[in-house]
Symmetry: C2
Subunit: 209 residues, 2 copies
């Protein structure tokens, strides 16, 4: 029987470096990155089915009603959501799936997939987070303070996650995430099949050898 894939949820406050980590992880491993749906217009270079599934607001709302999203949110008048069926399909076929997702979305996914691996990415320090926010530009001192207050609140949610990885260097964070995946594959509650096989084999030998 096929073993189900792992669902790896990479989450955390904005500016922590989730995107960079996921990109590096995909280059190194066999994970499948779930593509989100959105109602916003594609930007230059964005490809339907790669960057996002670009769909109409009407289509999106229909899908909400049908329960087609693992989670969704409205941001500045546009909808963003994680399609449920493709994630389930991949997991059932034994593929490991990554979701890169904000904190509210991750907590929704956790309700549907408590067996997922929920990793909270922490910035190496608040000073570093500040520098990253400043580098992104267009921040006034007031909006900077707003972002900080929001990051402060967001870090509270780490307690809802199983793992926290400090993103001091991308390679360091990657190594930790890869170790978490190996360790999770060794968890007894995920290994029932292997253990059962040992026992079946044993019974066989006792009876027929």
């Amino acid at each position: 029987m096929n073993q189900k894939g792992l669902l790896l949820v990479i989450s955390g406050p904005s500016g922590a470096g989730k995107g960079t980590i996921c990109k590096a992880l995909l280059e190194k491993s066999e994970f499948w990155l779930s593509v989100s749906s959105t109602t916003r217009n594609p930007r230059a270079g964005e490809v339907h089915g790669e960057s996002y599934y670009f769909i109409s607001k009407e289509d999106f709302k229909n899908r909400i009603d049908k329960g087609d999203f693992l989670e969704y949110a409205e941001v500045y008048g546009n909808y963003y959501g994680t399609p449920k069926s493709s994630v389930i399909e991949m997991l059932e076929s034994g593929k490991d799936v990554i979701l890169e997702i904000d904190i509210q979305g991750a907590l929704k996914v956790k309700e549907a997939f408590p067996e997922g691996i929920f990793i909270f990415i922490l910035p190496p320090s608040m000073e570093e987070l500040k520098q990253r926010i400043i580098k992104r530009g267009s921040e006034t001192p007031e909006s900077l303070m707003t972002r900080f207050k929001s990051a402060y609140k967001e870090i509270n949610y780490v307690s809802k996650y199983s793992y926290a990885v400090v993103n001091d260097t991308v390679n360091g964070a990657l190594e930790k995430i890869e170790s978490i995946v190996i360790a999770e594959r060794c968890r007894v509650d995920r290994m029932k099949d292997t253990i059962l096989n040992s026992r079946e084999e044993l019974i066989h030998e006792q009876l027929y050898d």
Copy 2:
């Protein structure tokens, strides 16, 4: 503040290869291996304080009464036990500790240290376990069957452990155990200090920058 060390408990049925794995792990890493106490006589080459602490039966029984053992057992008229104080001392000083221990002992240790990392070593197959038992010699067909029945029962206890590692190759098993240790260090419930520091630093910046 000093971070407490991890307690790594390597356990499993006899013949699974616990000893070989622990030896290899100690050569590669900074773990401290707890030395057991025993009332049996030292064999040629065994050193007091390295192989075992060789103590008298009277001394051992006194220590049982004082609650000095994390766990102990009587095997063929001799006592074997894990001294509690040295393990606690090492963990408090931030040293990571390995216990190589049978299943009954491990379950006792789990009562005292539920925060320990309990790893069950599985033989790659029952056929391989059989070969290992035969190689150790002095087994009649009857005693071989008894050993198997015992291994069969022992494998049931895997459900009391967090992790199971199949010992197909020593290097493969080592890599998994090292990943488990890295992953456990990323567990949110072990990282409270780091996360608290991020928040303190943030408050500081908000007030004084």
